[in-house]
Symmetry: C2
């Protein structure tokens, strides 16, 4: 069965998955690199990185994934829609390596990149977008790439089978929150928590088997 998965979604103690304001110079606003420092210290990120619990979680990102869906604000900074040459943050060979669907109200023609990533732009409900992405994934899983607004929409619609959140021990105070509108989310999931010696805590939500 093709599953819908979220990986490595980093939030502060107060639940913000990005700071503010988002810009070309500071994609995460005042959060800077703090939400992802744990990941940059792993082998997943660099050959001299750690191979402990943070790394094994980070490594789950790729395997078994046949397509990604991301939000417009993950794809580029405010205003990218007016820049015909914007091709995302990730250079010529983005780390997705699959069809990647950008949810946006400003659709444009597909962008074929190196390494297997093609960006498709579409305006669709979460359920419709998932149907399109699942088709493109050829039987493999679909990753919901974030940001938080989009992740929240898919969670609220009950479309996510696996959620991995990394809680970083900082209080951001402002930005975009992950948990809003998700009261009682845990009821549909088995939830586990494991803290890493690096200070972050990995939370996993695994959808309960239908009974």
């Amino acid at each position: 069965m093709s599953r819908t998965r979220i990986h490595n979604l980093a939030i502060s103690l107060d639940g913000f998955a990005t700071g503010e304001p988002q810009s070309l110079e500071a994609p995460f606003g005042h959060a800077g690199h703090r939400l992802h420092a744990w990941m940059m210290a792993t082998r997943y990120w660099s050959p001299t990185g750690s191979t402990g619990v943070d790394d094994v979680f980070a490594q789950q990102f790729g395997p078994g994934i046949g397509a990604e869906i991301m939000g417009a604000n993950k794809f580029g900074p405010p205003g990218w829609q007016d820049d015909a040459d914007w091709k995302g943050w990730w250079g010529p060979n983005p780390p997705f390596h699959t069809p990647t669907f950008v949810l946006t109200h400003h659709a444009r023609p597909p962008l074929e990149m190196e390494g297997g990533t093609t960006f498709h732009f579409l305006e669709a409900s979460p359920a419709e977008a998932l149907e399109v992405a699942r088709e493109a994934a050829g039987g493999q899983d679909v990753r919901i790439g974030g940001g938080p607004t989009m992740a929240r929409d898919f969670l609220a619609a009950g479309l996510v089978d696996h959620l991995h959140v990394v809680q970083v021990p900082i209080v951001l105070g402002r930005g975009v929150r992950l948990w809003d509108g998700l009261e009682a989310l845990e009821e549909g999931y088995d939830v586990e928590a494991v803290s890493s010696p690096t200070g972050v805590t990995h939370l996993t939500f695994t959808r309960k088997a239908a009974s």
Copy 2:
């Protein structure tokens, strides 16, 4: 040195330390007992309880404490100020066993209970209240008992030396948040996180030594 400590402050994943509405029948509103189920399963709470990580944290509540300060909404449900006979939730022998200062805009005469607890009612800034409580504590530590509004005020004023928060894997969606207005709180503290097999995660903030 007498320290100011917060213990066993339980919050949801989205940071709520109580649900809503608070009432005589439901002191934690729609949260019910869910924020404290971890504690009720420990030896600290009952003779047949567990003795693992949840218990050792819970046990820190009493030792070394010479006084508590709590908020008006912890002392009673909305409207307790109009009930001259209200003596708190805890029966004749409350679990504080020290002078206990209730911050309220509706002060009344002190209430001497069994077991060493005397409730004093006062209207004062956090710093002033702490001075009074520290005096009463006779050189021992002062516990900030919550609720979240009050804990937040003491944290924002930089008055807390030790903070122990227990994060419960539920999404409450509404209630009173702990982290609001505390941006960058972590900068003054060494922060540790440890998850328990029961699913909760214990976070400790230990104030950094002045350098």
